[in-house]
């Protein structure tokens, strides 16, 4: 069980922000943290890992106190034993895959954990390669395996798959799920991708304006978006073109491209590559196969 209660002042792109998340996760749970960019999701993860300090608050995990500002307790990142995976993988360029994994092994610890991780993430063929010679998906598999060599009980994933294409993402999600189950991990993932959240997470919390929402089931999040029978889908803007007095926006939702009419007021500096949420009014759904 993990209990987190933190307070920290941030200077976000949108101005000063008081980040004060409160969060609980059960052991073995897969929890997703979502929310608009600049809402402090990454900072939250970094504070849990011990890479940033909170102004005040407490973190307790699996019966240990990692942080308690009132009692002056603040375990170093080295002593918290969390698995941490960054969006940019952060593999050591001077080491091969095998060396990256062995580096993470504590002195005197049995090496069988490495072969177990290599089996699950299917890295056998890549052990002798340097990170520069790996694809993004391969690098992320190595980063996942490396993060678990120390047998942490908590795995923190900061948008781990956002630099990968859709197909690679789906494969990597399977690896993440397998590792989560095989090692009985408690996992926290920061993600924007509803499809990813649905597939991976047991519960979702939303971080907005520095505060965190009550945890919900992934399908509750979707249903809460549709009280009147409409759908809220998130996608990526591909293209914007003028169509008479308004605009036509091509949005990639999942693997489908949808054209959405938009007024000038809705565009407000939107550019191809931005993420948007599109609400569809669907009073009648017709299924066919």
């Amino acid at each position: 069980m993990i209990r987190i209660r933190l307070k920290k002042h941030l200077h976000a792109a949108t101005g000063p922000l008081l980040l004060q998340p409160e969060l609980e996760a059960q052991a073995g749970e897969f929890l997703a943290v979502t929310g608009p960019s600049g809402s402090g999701k990454t900072t939250l993860l970094r504070m849990i890992a011990g890479l940033e300090t909170a102004a005040e608050g407490s973190i307790s995990a699996f019966g240990e106190t990692w942080l308690d500002t009132r009692q002056g307790i603040n375990l170093r990142v080295q002593d918290r034993n969390v698995g941490l995976v960054f969006q940019d993988y952060a593999l050591f360029p001077n080491m091969t895959v095998a060396q990256n994994l062995h580096y993470a092994l504590p002195k005197g610890a049995p090496e069988d954990i490495i072969s177990e991780l290599v089996d699950i993430t299917e890295l056998q063929e890549l052990m002798g390669r340097y990170p520069a010679r790996l694809s993004g998906g391969q690098q992320q598999r190595v980063a996942l395996a490396r993060a678990l060599v120390r047998r942490p009980r908590l795995l923190l994933l900061d948008e781990p798959l956002s630099a990968l294409d859709q197909r690679m993402r789906a494969r990597l999600q399977n690896y993440i799920l397998r590792l989560h189950k095989a090692f009985g991990l408690t996992t926290l993932i920061v993600s924007h991708d509803y499809q990813e959240i649905f597939k991976l997470a047991d519960r979702v919390v939303r971080l907005d304006h520095g505060a965190i929402s009550q945890p919900e089931l992934p399908d509750e999040v979707a249903l809460a978006n549709a009280p009147d029978g409409s759908f809220l889908l998130s996608g990526e803007v591909l293209h914007i073109e003028e169509a008479g007095s308004s605009f036509l926006m091509s949005v990639l939702i999942g693997t489908n491209v949808v054209q959405v009419p938009a007024a000038i007021a809705d565009l407000r500096g939107l550019q191809p590559g931005d993420r948007v949420e599109v609400r569809f009014e669907a009073h009648q759904a017709i299924l066919s196969r």
């Binding site: 890992a49 890479l51 170093r76 990142v77 080295q78 002593d79 034993n81 969390v82 698995g83 941490l84 960054f86 940019d88 952060a90 593999l91 050591f92 360029p93 001077n94 580096y103 993470a104 504590p106 520069a132 980063a143 490396r146 993060a147 060599v149 120390r150």
Partner: protein, 224 residues
């Protein structure tokens, strides 16, 4: 060729080698500390380290001469406690060169550290590794081009120094007479042939070492 020619060249390389070794030991922690520091005093420390870049060498040499002289507090203390005499001695030249070439070691290393992705060190910490182990096994191996640049610049800059050495070393053959001083000396004595030998040796040395650095750097970038 005169034996004093080889003696002078050998002394020049000894001075540059000793200076570079000491600068490596001093420069790595200094550059590492500066790259991680967010202190308000950081610009002051950076300015202090970079002073030799803009000061005339004679200014630096003048103050070092005063500081090292046995009549000064520092000079007297060094001579009493360590038996170290730094004026007109080889050790004095090393001490002066270390200060004079410090920015040439610290600046490349500092920018090397600063250009490393922050996540590399953080990933290492999250794997339970100390700052020391992370520095030795992750950070230093990944700034090899910066290390090479620092070593070469410090070495070459020490070989080429003149003003500081003239002020605190003088021109004692086998002790403080290095190549750049010898050239000046031979020209003053109208001995152009020998001056030319020294000068040519310096030109050849400078070109060889710079070409080697660029070649090695290119290979490192290709394999990285």
């Amino acid at each position: 060729m005169e034996s004093s020619f080889w003696q002078t060249l050998w002394l020049t390389f000894q001075l540059a080698g000793a200076t570079t070794l000491i600068l490596l030991v001093l420069g790595i922690p200094l550059a590492y500390g500066l790259s991680k520091s967010q202190s308000r005093a950081k610009p002051l420390a950076e300015a202090l380290i970079s002073m030799p870049l803009v000061l005339p060498p004679t200014v630096l040499g003048f103050y070092l001469l005063l500081a090292f002289s046995p009549s000064s507090a520092l000079g007297a203390w060094l001579s009493e406690t360590a038996g170290l005499k730094l004026v007109f001695t080889f050790s004095g030249l090393v001490a002066g060169s270390v200060i004079y070439s410090l920015p040439f070691m610290v600046q490349p290393l500092q920018s090397g550290f600063e250009n490393l992705p922050r996540h590399l060190a953080e990933a290492s910490y999250s794997l339970g590794k100390s700052r020391w182990e992370t520095l030795i096994k992750v950070e230093l191996p990944n700034i090899k081009p910066a290390l090479l640049t620092g070593i070469v610049l410090a070495f070459a800059h020490t070989v080429g120094e003149f003003g500081v050495i003239l002020m605190i070393g003088g021109n004692i053959p086998g002790q403080t007479r290095v190549a750049s001083i010898a050239i000046y000396d031979e020209v003053e004595a109208m001995n152009y042939g020998l001056a030319n030998q020294y000068a040519l040796a310096m030109v050849a040395f400078a070109f060889t070492i710079l070409a080697a650095v660029y070649l090695i750097n290119r290979r490192m970038l290709r394999t990285a």
